[in-house]
Symmetry: C2
């Protein structure tokens, strides 16, 4: 696949971080494909791209699909890009069969869904949905201090359309599951009813740099020893809430990061998830109780900031119904499923009826270069998407 | 001080990592000072610099002092550079008073003593003493893969003198204590009798990257959760050996270091110290037993490599005696002390009679930008050095 070559890694995955040159190349290719399919293109101020195929009645709000082209540093060939390619396939199939829909059909590419280079995740669909304001979105910075606004301008994707002023009649997103359930249950299609809630944190521990040799153990203020306790506690919190809780420290930076200097400070992140909002609140409470006590006992200064809360999402009845009935009509084995990951659909659901279609991925593995999905499952998800969109566009 | 301005940090410290442009600037300044004091300069293939003040009998091996100009990333104005400046003061004082010594006197600057940019520490004095071979020394690489050989050439300090072919009659090194003992005991001079042993390790944990949201806790292979357990155990090992054991994880790199990806691998270091060689061996045994069990229990692959062992050092009777008698003659309060840090003197002690002089540092803090020592204590250490060297040079 042409898109998977943009940022291809040695291990067969893709590293195409948001708003890098590679992200620009991916966007350019998407636009070329959509123009070849006869679409018109608009780009908004957050760099979200919309490719429009006119309907019979262009006063109707478009039926939209889409996903994202950015990846994790150790990303695969399916997370996000599958939903975009499925959307392009919908456009091409409608063309091939000369189908005219009542409402226009659009395919969207949302900026920085992953939340890896810039936190939080889904920030541009969040601005679109009014969850964040534009200034917040544009000011998100990577670890080197470069902002999304600067990088959008640099790669030529700071569009002019005001964010969120784009009407949406309904939104459908196809995605790999990124977890093991569909494979384990041997179902082809996941009819996504909910997405679990998530809270993201940034924690900074400050101790005191000192020499690893002469400094007695009892008087040390070792920020990494404190950080290690937090990693262990975060893991315990998730483990204690099986089968539902998820808890991860994905990022840690140690300073000064020198073998024979006691670490003076550590920056780390926490990612909590739960399909139950109250349980998610409990995870927050446990973390804060732990870090408060740790600060008292250790003499470290510990700052805990929740930088993001994406509450539990219930997708729209009508769209979930459209996905379910298309799946049944097409005869695919299926089940209802709760999304373990966040998706742009979670935010679009706030401003338009929204539904999602999951397909299995090998061993449930995602955010990994070995990520894989079968051609048959990819085609099945695309078929369901096509049928659900035609139904919605002609309703 | 002019030297402290080279790499000066906002917090009043110095960041002058080995073989950077700043290190070159420091070396250039040292050479200028020594030439102004009438010395001749030689540089060996490891970039060690020797400034020579002739004696009456230049067939005698020189009486040498010295230390290092490189610092930690969060280094102070005294660690290393104090010993070099004390040496330059010795040269100038001998000149000012027109003293002619029997043997020549030399001041050395050893390359990459800190072991921060390039591991292990004291690598260039180690090559000088025959502990490492030249190829090993030149091939030490920083985290970006740049080698000492490349960087020596780049900054113009790849000298021509074969390493270790430089005769040394006796070696004395003045240094701040870098620990709290002299201050606590209110003594001006530490007569250093030993240095504790140390072992350095590199550990790589390999798990599996996966999505922080949908991936169930029980099937994860989270390399950072494993690394956190090692940090906690390393700390426990040192704490269990009070008052003597020291254990530190100073450096950790998490991959892919993305907030919502379960860490697939972690690279970390361990620094163990003990003044008792058997106890140090016990620390090694405890670490390996722990990581073996952790690998079995967690499904992580854990590679533990000891990259350095610097055994307990006993300094030379005659040199320790020379420091002790100079201290007494000059009337400074003093005590015997074991060095908690490694020093170039530890390796030079293998090829020439060697002794060390410690002075107190504020709150025992080193490898920190707030590192401090009083002018009086600095002068006292310099005086002891001068007297010990004159005695040795005329013996
Ligand atoms: N689909 C996906 O990987 N989204 C990234 C945001 C998240 O971590 O849930
Ligand atoms: N003196 C000093 O800080 N040496 C660095 C080597 C060590 O870690 O002991």
């Amino acid at each position: 696949m042409e898109m998977a070559q943009i940022g291809a890694t040695e291990k067969g995955g893709v590293c195409r971080l948001a708003l890098t040159d590679l992200d620009r190349d991916g966007r350019d290719l998407f636009i070329k494909w959509c123009k070849d399919a006869g679409c018109t293109i608009t780009v908004d101020q957050m760099g979200n791209i919309f490719a429009r195929r006119p309907g019979k009645n262009n006063d109707l709000p478009p039926i939209m699909t889409g996903s994202h082209l950015d990846t994790q540093p150790t990303g695969g060939k399916f997370d996000g890009v599958y939903g975009v390619l499925a959307g392009v396939e919908v456009l091409r199939t409608l063309n091939d069969y000369g189908v005219e829909t009542e409402a226009p059909v659009e395919v969207a590419v949302w900026t920085n869904e992953e939340g890896s280079r810039f936190a939080p995740a889904m920030v541009a669909s969040g601005v679109f949905a009014g969850v964040f304001d534009l200034a917040y979105g544009l000011s998100r910075a990577d670890l080197d201090g470069k902002t999304m606004g600067q990088e959008l301008t640099r790669i030529g994707y700071a569009g002019s359309e005001p964010v969120g002023q784009h009407p949406v009649g309904a939104y459908f997103e196809a995605h790999i599951e990124q977890g093991p359930i569909l494979e384990h249950e041997t179902r082809t299609i996941g009819v996504v009813t909910h997405a679990q809630g998530q809270r993201w944190y940034e924690i900074t521990l400050t101790g005191q740099e000192a020499h690893a040799g002469p400094t007695p153990m009892p008087i040390r203020k070792d920020a990494l020893v404190g950080a290690a306790k937090i990693v262990t506690e975060v893991n315990r919190i998730g483990m204690s809430l099986q089968p539902f809780g998820r808890s991860t420290v994905g990022l840690m930076q140690v300073s000064p990061n020198s073998r024979n200097t006691i670490p003076g400070s550590v920056f780390m992140t926490v990612d909590f998830r739960n399909p139950n909002e109250e349980a998610l609140t409990g995870m927050d409470r446990d973390l804060r109780a732990f870090t408060d006590k740790l600060a008292r006992d250790s003499g470290l200064t510990i700052e805990v900031t929740q930088i993001w809360h994406s509450p539990v999402v219930t997708f729209h009845d009508k769209c979930v119904g459209a996905v379910r009935s298309a799946t049944r009509r097409l005869g695919y084995s299926n089940m209802e499923i709760v999304s373990g990951a966040g998706h742009d659909a979670c935010y679009i659901n706030r401003v338009a009826p929204t539904g999602m279609i999951f397909i299995p991925c090998e061993d449930g593995i995602s955010h990994n270069e070995v990520e894989n999905a079968t051609p048959d499952d990819c085609a099945a998800g695309g078929n369901v998407l096509l049928h659900a969109m035609i139904e919605a566009a002609n309703a």
